[in-house]
């Protein structure tokens, strides 16, 4: 589903350039739940942002379902972000002045769905992440875990090909982290959602099928943990 070839990302130019990614290649299949791990500064966030079309690679190739997305013009990338790619931020990145439901359905409206349809899609997505009955609350009235689940609902409401999450539990305690990871697990197992998640915590590994490890901008290991999942597709 995703093919990355020799991806490089340099910040700045010349001698002082920071080489955050020095040529990373891998492939992710539909239905996989992948963790990207590595020391701080190893390039995890940089990689994920490029994959989610929030940033451009300096060099290399990136295709989603055979489409060379690295060379798309901004307007099309924007549309791709809206319809195909979900991104979950470490700090939730919700719009504080919008209710949980509005945060989710603004995207469906952007896609051109009617208000009613958008609202229903939003409620369904919130339902899926276990936030039934809390759709009218604004972010300030939700716990960290709940906020992150609203963010997940926003990301999955459009039924994206791939869901990216950059340390989604970094600001959460263990209980809230588990809630979020359980949601991921369920989305992955029940709906076959492809998920790529950056994480620091070793115990998160028990939720995933595959672990990609980065070090200094280079992929140093790619382990499959759950063989059964891999064989699925």
């Amino acid at each position: 589903m995703i093919i990355v070839k020799n991806l490089k990302r340099y910040y700045g130019t010349g001698e002082t350039a920071v080489k955050a990614l020095r040529g990373v290649s891998f492939e992710i299949k539909k239905g996989e739940f992948v963790a990207i791990v590595g020391a701080s500064g190893s390039g995890k966030t940089t990689l994920l942002r490029i994959l989610a079309l929030l940033d451009d690679a300096t060099e290399g190739e990136y295709t989603i379902r055979g489409l060379q997305v690295s060379s798309l013009p901004e307007a099309e990338r924007s549309y791709y972000r809206l319809t195909q790619v979900g991104y979950i931020f470490q700090d939730y990145a919700l719009i504080n002045e919008m209710s949980a439901a509005e945060n989710v359905y603004v995207l469906s409206m952007m896609e051109g769905k009617s208000k009613k349809e958008s609202y229903e899609t939003a409620l369904e997505a919130l339902d899926r992440v276990g936030l039934k009955g809390k759709h009218n609350r604004i972010p300030d009235e939700l716990s960290g875990g709940e906020k992150q689940r609203v963010a997940i609902a926003r990301a999955i409401a459009k039924k994206p090909d791939i869901l990216f999450a950059d340390e989604p539990c970094a600001n959460l305690d263990t209980t809230n982290s588990r809630q979020v990871l359980d949601v991921f697990k369920e989305l992955n197992e029940k709906y076959g959602q492809t998920i790529v998640m950056v994480t620091h915590e070793s115990w998160h590994i028990e939720y995933v099928d595959r672990v990609i490890t980065l070090e200094d901008g280079i992929l140093i290991s790619d382990e499959r943990i759950n063989e059964k999942e891999v064989n699925k597709k």
């Binding site: 940033d55 924007s78 409206m109 926003r154």
Partner: protein, 403 residues
Amino acid sequence: MINDIRVGALIASSSIKRGNKKTLMFIVFVLSLIFMNLVFLPSMIGGMMVLFTGYMQDYPFGDVVIEPSGDNTYINNADSVLQKVRAVEGVRAATKRLDVGASIEHKQNVVGVTVTGLLPTEEYEISRYPYIISEGDFLGDLSRDEIIIGAAIAGTSPVFGEIYDDLGEVRAGSLVEVTYSNGVKRTYKVKGIMEGTFELVDLNALVHYKEIEDVYGLEGSKATSVVVRVDKQGTEEQVQDKIREAGVNEQVFTWADKSETLIKQAMQSMGAIDAMSKFVSLIVGAALILIIIYINVLHRKKEIGILKAVGITPRSIVLSYAFLSMFYVSLGILAGLVLYLSLMLYFQANPVIFYETMEIRPVIDPMLLIQSMVTMLTLSVIAGTLPAWSVSKESILKAIWGR
């Protein structure tokens, strides 16, 4: 595009609904002041215009004024004109006047003036001259060696004291020598000093109509103007037409016709001030709106980045700010209107008083109000979209994470 508008409206409305109410109130307050600034001074200047035109009616022109046609210096048979005019329906009173140039001398001081020859008893119905004598008395029917002098030339005016040359403390009872433009000299006793707090009056002098006739050797009831007052204000133009229909072949003007040309001259500097104040207000207003919205946009830069990151089009984001600033400005205009109208009410009841007697009541000019509203709304759209547009052009990474 429709989706962009819907999403823009949703973003704007939720940010209004749940945004900080204090900030909103502050923004609206500032905008209302900008609006006030745009309309208040012009209203005051408008009030001065009204005052000025009031003077035009009360002194030189009446409601309708008849002047010699063509190159003639005089209206030839003013009495027959008066007869026709007085017969016209809607005319309350009319009189003839003779304006001539002269210089007045008193104890080595000489000043140039316009001397108006008038019929004293008729003026009570026509002008306010008889009512503004601050010292002494107005002329009577037998006043042949007497003169009324404006306060500014007498040197007693509290208003124009320092501005114009004067005769140096002329009082009622003083003797002055007048040299007319044809060289004839006459000595008059000052019967009274008139004070109208208006240059055209206070720089003038009045004598009996017969005096001018005599000095210039005029016969057959000549006049430089026939001044007409109407029964009802607002009917000047009808009366003007009727006078023409009555067979008066001289030029017939309404006070407004006359004031217009006069105002164009006399109020030119005022007009320049007015235009400048409007211009400055607009620049200041535009800058303030821009700053307010810009700060607002900067404040929500991260949000703009997030919206873009999740796939909201930059166009909807820019639109949402256009809606937002239009909303702010509409509220600001509304608040400004309330403020403005209450101030107007206040000043109607308590006019600004200049020089003790000039009461200035601001006038409300609906055209100006509409113009200001449209200007502010247009500005707000520009001021709202420009900053949002520039931020929405930034890369997502920069908007969200600042680098």
